[in-house]
Amino acid sequence: MSIAFYPLAVLTLAGGLGAVLLKNTVHCALALSVAFAGLALLFLTLDAQFAGFAQILVYVGAVAILVVFAILLTKGSETPESGIFSHTWFVGLIIAAGVFAVLGWAVLQSVNALPNESAVPAITVHDIGNALVGRYVLPLEIVALLLTAATIGAVIVALHEKEGAK
């Protein structure tokens, strides 16, 4: 466990940094998918198999693909000559640093209160399924509705105005 954690954390963070810093937009997307994969592996170290694989399936399989599609459709792959960072980038950087400071401070404040050990939960996919159609059936249905709406909405938004009527 703890052996696996640090390389994975490094991988994830590296992926995230790459996604944010790289010049080429497509590289950013690929780095993003690396970060996603790293997160999925972190989930595995947390004994959350299902969530991990769902993460890979959804993010690496779908979201990353969507992103690269969008990049190619918007000719985003070539880097703009006018720099990749907005002209007020430092402000954003400072604010992000502030956010991290607050969050990290919060964690360190409560580090003694946090548990370091915990028994491996005996959770099977079966339990998750039962929970999904049992206690969490309403959220499930709402999410189903949301996804349908989002799909239709995305299609309509991305349609040509001319074909909008069709």
Binding site: I65, T74, T124
Partner: protein, 404 residues
């Protein structure tokens, strides 16, 4: 778990031992090590075995394909290297290894290099959850099916990397086609497998096989022998053909249109890797289909259980491959819009309906009634969707649509 080393099939044993021979062998080998290393060693052994076995299968398959196609096209196929050209794959392999590795000047080198690796790695990983025989699975994951599809989803990314990094319009077009097609059919593939999960109530492929490995009389309880099972089996075959970019869905590498699709710019060993990756993906998808619908390693008739289970598994997979080859030799290539229309207007609705039918089957309980009802519904749906979804629209110039 097992090791594939045919030499070690030493003395004739009873059917049971023959069935478990590789497991026994592995345990025997592992037993030499100190207990702490044993699990790791076991895993490594199995990985090595898989990584060794599937390229071999790949070689056989390629040879089979070339010769089979040759026969279908009324020619001999490879017949120079070795007896009946049996050593052709070896020759090919050597050629691929010693060939110069050409990388386009303004290609994106890193990505261009990573793409085939990612593909191969991912594809091999997806093999890890396939039970290739009784007690012969690398890791029996609780959510194995999900894992398989997660890996399958990652294939698309590698293909995109390949196509995009080559800086070549053919490659990019091929990659785009491939991704569009794979995304569409991945959905179908997943939904048609969900059906099995609904009945067997587990995502673990081992459990799914166990659920099918029982017999009433001499006949097995394979899921393909039920209305919904048959329907989703057919859908699965179609979708898997598309997923592996096989003819008639081989637009991404349609030679006559875009030279070789996303690996136009690949040569030498990387090309070989792509080739390998594709075939291994074929194997894995075929294996999944076998596991889900054809009872995995279980024998087709109860008394045939004497034949070792792994043999059955690979037999079925090979059959599947032959079917692919046959298709390739028979069917013409689809057009992109036909492909999409077929996926979204016919297969997908039908699959969704199949979900409902399965639920119906699940809740109607035992008895002949559910057979009748489900079959009727599916047949009717087939006709209806066929009429509506694929209704021929007026033929006109196709309009290509980009964002701008």
């Amino acid at each position: 778990m097992f090791v594939a080393s045919p030499i070690s099939v030493a003395s004739a044993m009873s059917a049971a031992n023959l069935d478990q021979i590789f497991v026994i062998l592995k345990n025997w080998l592992v037993a030499f090590l100190p207990p702490f290393w044993q699990p790791i060693a076991g895993v490594i052994l199995c990985v090595v075995a898989i990584v060794g076995l599937y390229p071999a299968l790949f070689a056989i398959a390629v040879l089979m394909e070339r010769k089979g196609l040759g026969r279908m096209q009324n020619r001999y196929g490879p017949n120079r290297v070795g007896p009946f050209g049996l050593f052709q794959p070896v020759a090919d392999g050597i050629k691929a290894l010693i060939k110069e590795d050409v990388v386009p000047f303004n290609a994106d080198h890193v990505v261009h290099f990573l793409a085939p690796l990612v593909l191969v790695v991912v594809v091999f990983m997806s093999l890890a959850v396939l039970p290739m025989g009784r007690n012969m699975v690398l890791v029996d994951m609780d959510s194995g099916l999900l894992f398989f599809f997660a890996m399958g989803a990652s294939v698309e990314l590698s293909i995109f990397m390949a196509g995009w990094s080559s800086r070549n319009k053919y490659s990019l077009l091929g990659a785009m086609r491939a991704i569009a097609q794979m995304v569409s059919y991945e959905l179908v593939l997943l939904l048609s497998s969900v059906v099995v999960v609904m009945i067997s109530g587990s995502l673990s492929l081992v459990k799914i096989v166990d659920a099918q490995a029982t017999y009433s009389g001499i006949f097995p309880h394979w899921y393909v022998f039920t209305p919904w099972g048959l329907a989703s089996f057919v859908i699965f075959v179609i979708a898997s053909t598309a997923e592996t970019n096989r003819s008639p869905f081989d637009l991404p590498e349609g030679e006559s249109e875009i030279v070789a699709g996303y690996f136009t710019e690949y040569s030498g060993f990387k090309f070989a890797l792509f080739f390998l990756g594709e075939y291994v993906e074929m194997f894995s998808v075929a294996g999944l289909g076998t596991t889900l619908f054809l009872g995995g390693w279980s024998a087709p008739l109860s008394f045939l259980g004497v034949i070792p289970s792994w043999l059955w598994f690979f037999l079925k997979v090979e059959l599947w491959i032959c079917f692919f080859i046959w298709l390739r030799g028979t069917l013409p290539r689809l057009r992109q819009d036909q492909l999409m229309t077929f996926a979204w207007k016919f297969v997908l609705p039908f699959t969704l309906l199949n979900l409902f039918v399965t639920a119906l089957w699940r809740f109607m309980g035992e008895g002949w009634a559910r057979w009748v009802v489900c079959s009727v519904i599916l047949a009717a749906a087939y006709v209806v969707f066929g009429r509506l979804g694929l209704a021929r629209r007026h033929v006109g110039p196709r309009s290509y649509r980009y964002a701008e």
